[in-house]
């Protein structure tokens, strides 16, 4: 009887230990506690963002920590950012990860920037002209079954393109061994900051709010494919309920010519991409049939119905949207 009790106690201790061990193993988690970032800046200013994170690890882990930042491509954040960190495991800096390096857990050999882009897209932003820029600690950090707090100080020059911009920057942390593993999203937390307003020149490029019409890529020349979208869900427009929507556009060339394509023909018809959302992709040089010596500098455009009577332009008026071709 005494022996049987002893056996039961031994088994109990064994199972409890096993259970605790399993619990410990499944308890690995990284958390972004907060992002502190200014709400406004001038184009070309250096701003400081502070990222506060905790790295809860089980067993002994030795890894480099990776921080990815989502920003407009034209800001060239990879060349304009420095990141340092402080933690109980030491202080240090992060450097840009080369594009040639394949990301951990990337099944198709993607690099870190592409892996982040594929998993997270452009977050809550509305204009698809952004990139994830990955940085990592220069040394590995070791933690043994503990919860390590780290504070990253990110200094970045914003709006180097000099343009008026409002954008929600994104931040992700992970480690270089697990990366953005499909099965463990608790190891790659992501957080988006509130809208950052950057004061520069020109028309506002508003990543934060939906717009009636968005162009992609944002920066292009007349020899690039250009996608122009029309979102008929934001506000009640003259084209409400219409399914056949056409673009009516005039190209302005460097030699002072105006070329208008405004017929209700197939090549001007927008394709439906979602309910009441439409898009057209065109190659301006081919679409307006310009000569080799001509360059298109800008396009004015509105959206119309099949009859051409209903017109929607900028701010739900009949004033055309303006698309300027430049790279800066």
């Amino acid at each position: 009887m005494k022996k049987s009790l002893q056996n039961t106690r031994k088994k109990l201790i064994r199972y409890v230990t096993l259970f605790m061990f399993i619990l410990l193993l499944s308890n690995c988690e990284f958390v972004i506690n907060s992002i502190v970032q200014p709400k406004t800046a001038n184009a070309g200013d250096q701003i400081t963002a502070t990222l506060d994170a905790n790295f809860r690890v089980d067993g002994a882990q030795t890894n480099r920590i990776i921080v990815g930042i989502l920003a407009p491509k034209s800001w060239k954040l990879g060349q304009n950012t420095t990141i340092s960190y402080t933690s109980i495991k030491g202080n240090g800096v992060l450097t840009l990860i080369p594009a040639s390096e394949v990301a951990a857990s990337a099944k198709n050999g993607e690099n870190w920037a592409t892996r982040m882009r594929n998993k997270l897209g452009i977050g809550p932003n509305y204009i698809d002209d952004m990139e994830w820029v990955p940085f990592r600690t220069t040394t590995s950090l070791t933690a043994v079954g503990e919860d390590v707090k780290a504070v990253f100080t990110i200094k970045m020059k914003v709006g180097v393109d000099g343009l008026n911009t409002s954008v929600k920057l994104g931040y992700i942390v992970c480690n270089n061994t697990d990366g953005l593993d499909d099965g463990s999203p608790n190891l790659w937390p992501v957080k988006y900051a509130d809208c950052l307003e950057v004061a520069g020149t020109g028309d506002l490029i508003d990543y934060c709010n939906p717009a009636l019409s968005v162009i992609n890529p944002v920066k292009s020349l007349d020899n690039d494919y250009q996608s122009i979208s029309f979102d008929n869900t934001i506000i009640k427009t003259a084209l409400q309920g219409e399914q056949d929507i056409y673009i009516c556009a005039t190209a302005h060339t460097s030699d002072g010519k105006n070329i208008t394509v405004c017929g209700r023909e197939d090549r001007s018809r927008l394709q439906q991409t979602a309910t009441n959302k439409f898009s057209i992709t065109l190659w301006p040089r081919g679409y307006f049939k310009v000569d080799a010596s001509q360059t298109i500098t800008s396009i004015d455009y509105t959206f119309t119905d099949e009859t051409g009577a209903k017109i929607v332009g900028v701010g739900n008026t009949e004033v055309p949207f303006v698309l300027k071709f430049n790279c800066n």
Partner: protein, 160 residues
């Protein structure tokens, strides 16, 4: 008697040592023989003569072929290479927009290809990848015809 026995034993050891050294020398000599397993052949010059059409196209990583062809016109575009010259049909955004000449950085191991359109002031260089897919060669070119942050990647297959 004891001395004789010791002498005999020493001679026996010497013989064995000699045989061991001979065997080792023989092994060493044999091991020095060189086998000419690698044929003395030269890498062929990459031949891309023929007409090629687009089989895959991306702009900044987004697929262009999923868009209606009525918008992109990519299906009609093709390029014909013939002994250092190229001609374009049904132009689309491409590294060059008129016919001209091309040259590889290295005809045997090309990593990039330079296009020089007739009459153009500048040459245009693209990275060149020449993989084999389903037993047939493909050409993949990466370039920026407009703004340099807009990256196009076209893959071509030979049509004749």
């Amino acid at each position: 008697m004891f001395i004789n026995h010791t002498k005999h034993k020493a001679a026996s050891y010497r013989n064995k040592l000699c045989m061991l050294i001979s065997a080792c020398s023989l092994l060493l000599a044999v091991s020095c023989k060189t086998e000419h397993l690698v044929p003395n052949a030269k890498e062929a010059v990459k031949d891309i003569n023929g007409t090629w059409s687009i089989t895959s196209a991306t702009l900044n990583g987004s697929e262009l072929l999923s868009l209606p062809d009525a918008m992109t016109h990519l299906s009609a575009f093709n390029i014909t290479f013939a002994d250092g010259k190229y001609t374009l049909s049904n132009p689309v955004p491409f590294i060059v927009s008129t016919d001209g000449e091309y040259v590889f950085n290295d005809p045997q191991y090309p990593l990039d290809i330079t296009f020089k359109a007739t009459g153009a002031a500048k040459e245009a260089k693209s990275s060149f990848v020449f993989p084999v897919v389903e037993g047939k060669r493909r050409i993949t070119l990466t370039f920026s015809p407009g703004c340099d942050r807009n990256i196009y990647k076209y893959t071509f297959k030979k049509i004749n």
